[in-house]
Symmetry: C2
Subunit: 342 residues, 2 copies
Amino acid sequence: MAEGRKFKVAVVGATGAVGEVMLAILAERKFPVSEVVPLASERSAGGTVKFGNRDLTVRNLDTYDFAGTDFGFFSAGSSVSKVHGPRAAAAGCVVVDNTSQFRYDADIPLVVSEVNPHQIPNRPRGIIANPNCSTMQMLVALAPIHRAVGIERINVATYQSVSGAGRSGLEELGRQTAAMLNFKDPSPKKFPVQIAFNLIPHIDDFQDNGYTKEEMKVVWETRKILEDESIQVNPTAVRVPVFFGHSEAVHIETREKISAERVRELLSNAPGVVVVDERKPGGYPTPVTHAAGKDPVFVGRIREDISHPRGISLWVVADNIRKGAALNAIQIGELLAKERGG
Amino acid sequence: MAEGRKFKVAVVGATGAVGEVMLAILAERKFPVSEVVPLASERSAGGTVKFGNRDLTVRNLDTYDFAGTDFGFFSAGSSVSKVHGPRAAAAGCVVVDNTSQFRYDADIPLVVSEVNPHQIPNRPRGIIANPNCSTMQMLVALAPIHRAVGIERINVATYQSVSGAGRSGLEELGRQTAAMLNFKDPSPKKFPVQIAFNLIPHIDDFQDNGYTKEEMKVVWETRKILEDESIQVNPTAVRVPVFFGHSEAVHIETREKISAERVRELLSNAPGVVVVDERKPGGYPTPVTHAAGKDPVFVGRIREDISHPRGISLWVVADNIRKGAALNAIQIGELLAKERGG
């Protein structure tokens, strides 16, 4: 892209856990930028953030005029996107939104860059939504299987790291762990109960059907992204005391029978996927050994489900802040840049 | 039982994580003992262990004569049970074995005290096996449902604490966590990769079908304990950085449709089960807030599976060292004592 156009890019929520990584990835991947504008609330404005080796001054989102800004990467919470996303889009800035604010609107494309990039041009409102981190990594792994043999049903149990709850989630796990090792009380602030050396089967609000909103996001987003309303999904979403990287025990039922060997082959050739699947100690991905700080979605423990004639089980691990959020948003940005001759 | 007979009881593996809790539970529950003999390898013999307020001297298993000992609770590894279990049984001591050594033998009953106590008398070899911790807690929760409407299939993802790997598992999580907070290298010793702030989707050896032995134990033991070879089970077993308490995301498919409300009612009246199921922050069991150090199996997140017409999802948490191992063994012992007029 070095020869093409360059773009003025805004990062909204630049001081947050995802925003910081967005800036790092824009630099790492040499996104064709003419200017990078980090934006945040008035409280954070005036501070600096890193973009490559440079320090950029954070500007106040409330008073920023998006006219002339090509792309805006939003990751500052739904309420911020609700107000400032449409304002940016009205000024001609294409918005790539990492929150759930617009994901379920029929006229907003919801895009995983490896799965449904063809939806990017269908953006009448000038806004493209980035999926939930759990859905994202699961679909990078499952889309090739769905294309090959069709997926009827997904049973998924997640193991989600605290970074999914933002910087305060990371701080809480660190603070509580240190407190406990010093025999002090790990009083919960960010999470409803202690997360250090514990598990919390509750992410986002409870819905009337007994699922949490985090779980229902996986259901809604899977159908929208795979463009198949018939797929049945049954998620249990659990927060675990891991800093970076979400993991998922995924059990699928396919329309046609597929062997574990064929799945391994399909995924070995799939974009954005790395298969780590040796049946020996360490021969599978884990958040620390494979995913944290890395781009791909790692898949292991691929096996034919002994409980179902057309079942496959897999273990899917990815950095929830990178592929699960920042990276996919920037990858969408790259496709937008290409569309405009970048 | 205070009026009845008293029994001479041996605890094999008395210095281990499970043996220590067995001794504590024998005291807590006022098991009708005339004498308690803690046994261990020659290396540990001569040390002391706690039984209530008393210190007992650990004796050498290799040279111990089981004649006159009524019940032997074994939790010192399969190889120890293999040699000394039959030796104790031959001397007239009823063996309750916590290892997997005899679990799958047709002439060895495999008993969860709330689920199939009627199997206790069928012990031609004088040995009764205690199930795997993951199977144990799952079946305490599922047996009432199986009895009511039949269970056809179980998809289960486990979140297993390090205490399941014994005292060295506890030490490794503590040591690695402290090392990491001090920016030191958390070199793995007990587990194949780092467990602090990480997950390991691998417990026990890999089998030819791609499942681990820990996973296959759940399959084999579920069928044997529920006395139903038709039940299909698909487990994924994962070690998590939690000290005490195993958790399970359980997704079942029943023969007849059952509502979440009816499941809640059944389990509220089931022996050994406590339902914690409010759809609000903290309204579900977690290892730290509910299970660690407690006897019951805690069940929450009960909901009708939106992906299946006869599906139910649940979240099951229990102390793997207590109900998952030591407590169930002692509960079997209590039934044996009752059989003999204790």
